[in-house]
């Protein structure tokens, strides 16, 4: 699979983007937020458990176990931080650029922690990473300022660091273990996620009960999430984390494209520019 890291990363990105699109549809259909936050990790755990029993190993080292716990916890801490920042009135144009800085943070840390500097220094790769990062920033609406600029900065920074930390933990944990342990990794990661997300959900929303529709949406989102995470883990196992993370950052383009294709949504100039930047960056990153 070493030669196919890009394909794995691309498929993971597409699945994650598709998940975002489906999530949006779920929101439109009135799916409860609590359902959307809690059911997918539960679904991922339930999907992975049978596969765990078919593998020859669960966790081959404590490092992998700790890494999985860290990954799951940090991932949901990042999500909760973003949510809290929004809930405190932090403007999106302040929050998201900071959150998106997790990608360059991952690239920089990968250069040192995983000795990927040799890869990153290749001109085409460096340009590709920069373009992929830029694509996420172009989509951010910068045109208006606000009085609450400083609010939530710490939470946004925490979200960025936690997000980067989750990815790095996954790399640490999963690159030193057999590929079949991906299912154990997903189980542990999402168990941590269920705990964090569950506590956060109960603390911030009023449960009103899940309906069958909520379960169906959650099942679909969880399945897509499962596929996206499994492929992402395999991609970072065989590929350079800096490259895979940069490809993964482009998942936000997918719902835009899907919205235009299937919902007849109008593409703004900013969105078109993002799509183009993403294509260019993918072209360059593929050569890494």
């Amino acid at each position: 699979l070493g030669d196919y890291w890009f394909l794995l990363a691309l498929l993971s990105t597409l699945l994650n983007g598709l998940r975002a699109f489906v999530t949006k549809r779920a929101v439109e259909a009135g799916t409860l937020p609590a359902a959307g936050r809690l059911i997918p990790p539960v679904v991922m755990v339930l999907l992975s458990l049978p596969a765990v029993w078919l593998q020859d190993s669960v966790f081959e080292s404590r490092l992998a176990l700790v890494g999985a716990l860290l990954q799951g916890s940090l991932f949901y801490i990042a999500a909760a931080s973003r949510w809290s920042a929004l809930n405190r009135g932090t403007p999106g144009y302040v929050l998201y650029p900071i959150v998106q800085s997790s990608t360059p943070l991952i690239v920089i840390l990968s250069a040192f922690l995983f000795r990927e500097w040799a890869t990153i220094r290749q001109p085409q790769v460096m340009v590709g990473i920069i373009m992929a990062t830029a694509a996420t920033y172009v989509l951010t609406d910068w045109h208006k300022g606000g009085a609450r600029f400083k609010e939530g900065l710490a939470l946004a920074a925490l979200a960025a660091v936690a997000s980067a930390g989750a990815t790095l933990a996954a790399k640490f944990a999963f690159s030193s273990t057999a590929s079949g342990t991906v299912f154990s990794f997903i189980v542990v990661s999402n168990l941590a996620g269920v705990m964090v997300a569950g506590l956060h959900t109960f603390a911030t929303t009023d449960p009103t009960g899940f309906g069958r529709r909520d379960w169906l949406w959650g099942l679909g989102i969880g399945a897509l999430n499962f596929g996206g995470l499994a492929l992402f883990l395999q991609a970072i196992r065989y590929g350079e984390l800096s490259l895979v993370a940069s490809v993964g950052a482009l998942s936000l383009v997918v719902p835009i494209v899907l919205g235009a294709l299937f919902d007849g949504e109008h593409l703004t100039l900013r969105q078109e520019a993002t799509i183009l930047l993403s294509l260019f960056s993918l072209l360059l990153l593929a050569q890494g």
């Binding site: 975002a20 809690l38 539960v42 458990l49 809930n87 609406d141 030193s176 919902d263 703004t268 072209l283």
Partner: protein
């Protein structure tokens, strides 16, 4: 609100020249009866003066008393039925019993002093109804006609002065025997009885009455056409109630409001309550309670909506602009309804919320009033700027062009991302600029993609002497290490090769080992940068098996060869220090046929490995390499030359014997799997020697355990590792292949202890998952029940 009324019906006239009438007193009486009826007029009897055929002084005093005693909160109703007389200038005089036609100014109620009384009155709700000839002249001289004031009406105030007259200024009013009343008053009374309550709200206003009477008297329009003057705002204040209908109207309102509240359509409910015209304090209190309840629910809904918007932004990439816009409106506009200036995507998101939780109601500032209509036959509410209670479905409002309800105060919003183009409101100049940018952008993209495709097909420009070693080797290795056996090692190699490729473009391609040797010896490859001599060895060692086709026919293999930098096998026999083909062949020969030519002493190969030994050993432990020992070919002509070749099918079978002390020229064959065990450490002809020499792996408990379990009984027990000395002189004897049977069994089968541990891990993981999910579900279930418990 106290109401005062003066009802005058003058049928008898004493002086010559003024004939008596039949029905004015009856008209006044009937009206009086309705006014003081609690279910209709609700006027206190003490506040209503009924004057039948009064003298001038009596009537004047009653009028003056009513107007002057009225406070600002009072309403005043004046009704007169009798003769209306005109002077030469067209001024009208209301004649009473002792009116002298020759002395109209002092014996009748002239319009001028009457207007002065009205002007001086503090009441904000004055209604004058005149059923007499030429009565239209009174209205036209007193207040502007309806045509003059319609355009100026901007709101529902329910205040002002209205005059309802039986005729135009030149027409005569009539009474008919068959009706028993004056024509005008006949219909006036019918209207008060409920016929004029066209909208069914139980409230009858002067305009309601006028609309009804005018419609009834259409066939008399050429002879007697009633007239309405005054402000429309004044025309809508309640005049009388229609008792039964009033109760029905309130009940109906309640039902409608409750239904709207159940549907979370609070803005409409609020609008209905706001439009409902109250007729007394009790009703006002009822409406206030309703408004408070709606306000409270609105606040709750707005907070819920705000949370849901944030969640939508978090989970579905709702754009920052739309989110901010919606939140701004929620924060600043108490009647916030959502704004749809954004693209269709955001539009639909918002619509989904609105459809379920709040109605999409246009804000008043953007509502365009319909064309003013003539009072007759047109619902008055539509003229006064208040929307009719008909609810516009949200999908009608939101399904068409997005409505820019909010952006008027935000000019910058139209410049953000072309979203207004979706709303069709982008100026043409901006639309053209965007198109140009798009064309340029996509053209550049097409060119870049073509260039990129060409780059892919042609490959990077390389010097002719530079070959693509890295690509070839990487592909070979990745292809054959799908199981990730040597993933760490391969990754390091790949990184190194990529580094070489990135910085120096010194990528060499080996198709066979001869090319490698030639390239290195002839210096056609400029080895610079991070490519060390050890890299060369690694490259050679990696390339050789493939180039030589040693592993053809094997279904699966992994190979790793570590050659020390100063390995004697790679040292030229001529002593020049150059690596030559012949020396590599020495390696091959030593590996494959054990010819004994490799007389290697331990002292001759002391350099380390390119890959850290600790890393390799850790890798071995992680991968459980010893599991399939039977399928392993171990070639170890020297303790410093470590070769691991794994053969197998679906599963990785890999093994390694590292740093075996191997006396030169000794070898042992092991048949059965197309593999050859070249040599293995032995001591005194028994296998515990293998254990002894592998002191670097002795710390691996699993190895020790396996060896003990399998070999211990066979060979009479293994000594403790510490007791064994690596430097002991050893005598070498051929090994009986039967010794390997226990090893084969051990490594072919799964270690029972390991299997148990694995099973325990799986059980623990599954149990933890199910318990946690069950706890989360239970907590959630309890929370749900708690929240849905009925309140007291």
């Amino acid at each position: 609100m106290p109401a005062k009324a003066v009802v005058i019906g003058c049928a008898k006239y004493e002086l010559p020249g003024v004939t008596s009438l039949k029905f004015p007193e009856r008209d006044a009486g009937e009206l009086y009866r309705r006014l003081v009826d609690p279910a209709i007029g609700g006027y206190a009897e003490s506040n209503v003066d009924l004057l039948t055929s009064p003298m001038f002084g009596e009537a004047s005093r009653a009028l003056a008393r009513a107007f002057k005693s009225a406070s600002r909160q009072d309403s005043v109703l004046i009704y007169f039925a009798g003769h209306g007389l005109r002077d030469d200038e067209g001024n009208i005089y209301l004649a009473v019993r002792d009116t002298d036609p020759d002395l109209l100014e002092v014996t009748s109620m002239a319009s001028r002093p009457f207007r002065q009384l009205i002007d001086s009155c503090r009441s904000q709700q004055i209604c004058v109804i005149l059923d007499c000839c030429f009565s239209g002249a009174f209205a036209s001289r007193t207040v502007p006609s309806v045509a003059d004031v319609t355009q100026s009406v901007t709101a529902l105030t329910g205040e002002g002065t209205v005059i309802l007259t039986a005729t135009q200024r030149t027409q005569e009013a009539r009474e008919r025997d068959e009706l028993g009343h004056g024509v005008f008053t006949n219909y006036l009374l019918q209207g008060i009885d409920g016929a004029a309550d066209a909208d069914g709200d139980g409230i009858i206003t002067a305009l309601d009455l006028y609309n009804f009477i005018a419609r009834k008297m259409e066939n008399l329009a050429g002879v007697q056409r009633p007239m309405f003057s005054g402000s429309l705002a004044g025309g809508v204040f309640p005049l009388v109630r229609s008792g039964r209908r009033r109760a029905d109207a309130i009940a109906k309102l309640r039902v409608e409001v409750e239904a709207l509240r159940r549907d979370k359509r609070h803005l409409h409910a609020e609008q209905l309550v706001k439009q409902f015209t109250v007729s007394d304090l009790a009703e006002e209190r009822q409406m206030a309670i309703l408004r408070d309840e709606i306000d409270e629910e609105k606040r709750s809904l707005r907070e819920g909506l705000r949370r849901q918007l944030l969640q939508a932004a978090e989970r579905s990439h709702l754009s920052d602009g739309t989110l901010r816009e919606a939140l701004d409106i929620l924060a600043t506009n108490p009647d916030a309804v959502f704004v749809t200036k954004s693209s269709d995507l955001h539009h639909r998101l918002l619509r989904s919320y609105l459809a379920g939780r709040l109605d999409a109601v246009t804000l008043e500032e953007t509502w365009t009033p319909p064309e003013p209509a003539t009072p007759t036959g047109v619902p008055l509410r539509s003229v006064t700027g208040v929307q009719a209670p008909t609810v516009t479905p949200p999908n009608q409002l939101l399904g068409g062009q997005p409505q820019n309800l909010h952006s008027a105060a935000e000019p910058g919003a139209s410049e953000d991302n072309g979203q207004l183009e979706a709303a069709g409101s982008t100026p043409l100049r901006r639309r053209g600029a965007s198109t140009m940018v798009r064309i340029l952008m996509w053209s550049a993209a097409a060119l870049a993609l073509i260039a990129g495709a060409l780059t892919f097909t042609s490959g990077p420009a390389l010097d002719t002497t530079e070959l693509r070693l890295g690509v070839l080797l990487k592909r070979e290795w990745d292809q054959h290490t799908a199981e990730g056996v040597f993933s760490l090692v391969v990754q390091q190699l790949n990184r190194r090769l990529q580094g070489i490729a990135a910085f120096n473009s010194k990528i060499v391609t080996f198709t066979n080992i001869d090319e490698v040797s030639r390239a290195l010896n002839e210096r056609t490859v400029d080895v610079v940068g991070e490519l060390s001599p050890r890299d060369i060895y690694v490259v050679r060692d990696l390339a050789e098996p493939f180039a030589a086709g040693l592993y053809e026919g094997l279904q699966h293999y992994n190979a790793l060869i570590f050659v020390p930098a100063e390995s004697p096998y790679l040292v030229a026999e001529d002593g020049t220090g150059e690596v030559k083909e012949a020396s590599w062949n020495n390696v091959l020969a030593a590996l494959n046929d054990g010819s004994g030519k490799l007389a290697v002493s331990d002292e001759s190969s002391t350099s380390g490995f390119w890959f850290p030994r600790s890393l390799v050993l850790e890798e071995f432990r992680q991968r459980q390499w010893f599991r399939s020992f039977a399928d392993v070919t171990v070639r170890s002509p020297s303790q410093e030359l470590m070769v691991a070749v794994a053969c197998g099918k679906q599963k990785v079978v890999a093994g390694v014997t590292a740093a075996f002390r191997l006396p030169p020229g000794k070898q042992v064959s092991c048949d059965g799997r197309q593999v050859t065990l070249v040599s293995i450490q032995k001591s005194e002809g028994i296998l515990h020697g293998a254990y002894a020499v592998r002191n670097d792996l002795a710390e691996d408990e699993r190895v020790v355990r396996s060896l003990k379990n399998s070999w211990g009984n066979a060979v009479g027990g293994l000594p403790e590792p510490q007791r064994l000395s690596l430097g002991l002189p050893m005598s070498w004897t051929p090994v009986n292949p039967a010794y390997y049977e226990p090893i084969r069994r051990v490594f072919a089968a799964q270690d029972p202890l390991e299997a148990k541990q694995l099973r325990d891990q799986k059980v623990a993981l599954t149990a933890a998952s199910l318990i946690l999910i069950a706890c989360a579900g239970a907590y959630y279930f309890l929370s749900t029940r708690k929240n849905s418990a009925p309140g007291r």
